[in-house]
Symmetry: C2
Subunit: 453 residues, 2 copies
């Protein structure tokens, strides 16, 4: 009997996929990273399935790669050769939604936008909204501590995670955190699991915080600038004026051209940056008008303002198209540096210089209010690896981000993709401590080995 | 040579206090808990002092009890017999305050309110404001993950902590986190240290997030109710209506009487609860008027509304007097349960019942918007231990809080005081994991042993 047969026997019928072609379809995330061939895929439908899977994995020393929707951008869910893939995508129940306590208890396979929609029926919202929120899962968002467009106002996924149910590497079940808004009993295990990319345990349920949804639709502006630097200055002015945008996105010319080639948005020559901002405050229209004035004062050539939901959707729609538009241009190395907001223009300049020096096409969007930039390095489809020029340009971008007081990854995570740069940011003491923590939870090293730390 | 002499030699002159009477004055926090006699006190003035102290402690296997201002309410900074007390109160530099990036880099001994005042000079604020914020330190706030009055809107201390410099038990220096608003490189060590009560390392510097200070003074209301239950219903209505108060405090009759006895606030008969709320939003006056209406609809007998800073200070001043007023009544066992907001009235009922059943005077204030209650059990000054009736009443309160989906401690921490109840909330798997993490950072067990977990 092969080891995998013992797992088939331990789980209800239909849970284990061993057909290599089907298994391979669960091996990738949204990066170019070539996965290894997994030994199989478990389609978990319950916590008990996860417990049985991890017990089997420990007994047979088989690495386990947990995954949600596979929409990650760092290779954290990429299967490694001979690993078992553990998909949580079928655990889709919203077990509880309490309007009075403003919390929900959800399984990891719930699609992020579905939870938000369920909350809106009660006048609430689930705030974290990665660009992938229509396809990504809460479990994946928790595993990567996903950010998103609204996090400039509402924080990242960790800020909405109150408590977790986690299956540990040896099959024991750990409950972390709480149902209350505050709590300080013991160490913050919830925060530790969020962003740990499946290397410490497998999340099988989460208690998350909901928030009051804004009463009125948000007011929105889109401003065009002749230079990224001018747009960056407008961002600084808007944040310093206390406008508290609920969204503040920056797109460069290369990104706008990619979108225009695809969807014909009527991009004018001379527009080298677009800034899109939103306020969902009760005085949002006034806030957006203030932001509009600050854009004009900082050199915007054109500003459109809207408070109708349809026009707003058009303005925001440009931003939501950005990643797909780039995927049409070639394979993408998507980076995710985050810098202190005041050096955003300088960081943009460094990205442009790196692209020019290494002759690499780079399209950049930024969650500008957070100082979080996504330079996307385009290269030829079909290559197993980005060419040396792309790695060299990426090297420069990371090095400069760290010099400017920034970080390698604002919201996508380390996964496989950023491990080559990890030592630039995390010194030996940090890495030793991280591996010490990993060993507490996973002494056999079966949980997503080679990722995150 | 005594072991302590080696420490005296290793540090600059004047850093080590060995006089037993002076040392004893650094042995207590604000609880009644009787400390042991420390072997000495280090008055650290730099990170290097902390490094030398921990190296010495490791070599001689001497437990170290870090402390800030000693204003804690759970015994986390209480000296144990034979321990070395490590005071960070002299490390008071605000090393950097960047208005553009909305961050500050501070030493642990900075008084919380001093940082807030320094930030206000730039139109910013440091949001976390435990009631003790005029005497407590940032280091102590971080060690306990302190909450406060404003955290109903701005979150707890952890939500403002971006990065830390920590001296580990063996004297190595660890840097956690970042200067950026977002970041997901590796595990969340910053969050892990916050709230760990000095059991994992000693914080010697913190990068904290500042926020835009509201442009106008807050609008404030104070409402009187005939019953706590009615006041609790008003809280629920206010939160459900999305009023987003920046402060929402509830005081019971026993607390109001204690304040009235001391400061003669003109407490009327029949007033059994007071609710004080604030909005610092740009439309704060309108928000407070909405809150006022909801109080009246829920049975308030009187509501005062103010937007003048002086009147506001008078209304809030009542709340700020609460703890001192109770200390005049006797020794205090201050508890800190937190429950889902919807069961706040039920929890209040359980506290009243426990007090009546065991004939214990209990005064309760609550950060009502968070569901965080501070029942203060009064007993005779001079007793070494609270009488059995107090422990029995506290037992009931904790048990009921957990039954209602709550937690033992919302913001004060476990320290020594709540360890007797810890097993009620944290199961064996949680405790084993916590102790495993502790061992990674402190294999010799010299850092504040017997606290927190």
């Amino acid at each position: 009997m092969r080891p995998i047969d013992a797992l088939v026997n331990a789980l209800p019928a239909g849970r284990v996929v061993t057909d290599p072609d089907v298994a391979a379809s669960y091996a990738r995330d949204r990066t170019f990273v070539e996965p290894g061939q997994p030994v199989g895929v478990v389609l978990a439908a319950s916590r008990d399935d996860v417990v049985a899977t991890l017990r089997w994995a420990g007994e047979h020393r088989v690495p386990v790669v947990p995954r949600g929707a596979g929409s990650g951008l760092a290779g954290a869910a990429t299967a490694t050769e001979g690993a078992l893939v553990l998909s949580l995508a079928r655990m889709t129940a919203i077990r509880e939604l309490s309007p009075a306590d403003e919390i929900a208890v959800v399984e990891p396979g719930v699609i992020t936008a579905d939870l938000d929609r369920a909350a809106r029926e009660h006048g609430l919202m689930y705030a974290p909204d990665p660009s992938s929120y229509e396809i990504s899962t809460i479990g994946g968002n928790l595993a990567t501590n996903a950010g998103g467009l609204r996090c400039v106002k509402y924080g990242v996924t960790r800020d909405s995670a109150l408590g977790l149910e986690v299956v540990l590497a040896d099959g024991r079940v750990l409950h972390t955190g709480r149902r209350t808004m505050k709590g300080v009993t013991g160490y913050d295990l919830t925060g530790l699991f969020v962003g740990s990319e499946g290397t410490l345990g497998v999340i099988t349920s989460a208690t998350v915080r909901l928030r009051r949804a804004p009463a009125a639709p948000p007011a929105t502006f889109a401003a065009e600038f002749g230079s990224l630097r001018a747009a960056g200055a407008a961002v600084s002015a808007i944040m310093a004026a206390g406008c508290q945008p609920s969204l503040m996105e920056l797109l460069d010319r290369a990104t706008l051209e990619a979108i225009d080639d695809w969807r014909h948005i009527g991009l004018e020559p001379g527009v080298n940056a677009m800034l899109i901002g939103q306020s969902d405050a009760s005085d949002g229209q006034a806030a957006v008008e203030r932001m509009e004035r600050l854009c004009v004062q900082n050199g915007a050539s054109f500003v459109a303002v809207s408070s109708s939901p349809q026009e707003t959707e058009e303005l925001i729609g440009v931003r939501r198209m950005a990643y797909e538009a780039k995927e049409r241009l070639g394979a993408c190395l998507v980076e995710d540096v985050c810098v202190p907001r005041s050096v955003l223009p300088e960081m943009i300049g460094a990205i442009e210089a790196a692209g020019a020096r290494h002759d690499v096409r780079i399209c950049t969007v930024a969650h500008a209010g957070d100082g979080n930039l996504h330079p996307v390095f385009i290269f030829e489809h079909g290559l197993a690896e980005p060419p040396a020029s792309v790695w060299a340009a990426a090297d420069e971008v990371f090095t400069r981000a760290l010099e400017l007081g920034g970080t390698l990854t604002g919201e996508h995570g380390v996964g496989l993709l950023k491990r080559r740069w990890l030592a630039l940011e995390a010194g030996p003491v940090t890495r030793e401590v991280q591996h010490g923590i990993k060993a507490v939870f996973d002494p056999l090293g079966i949980l997503n080995p080679g990722k995150a730390i």
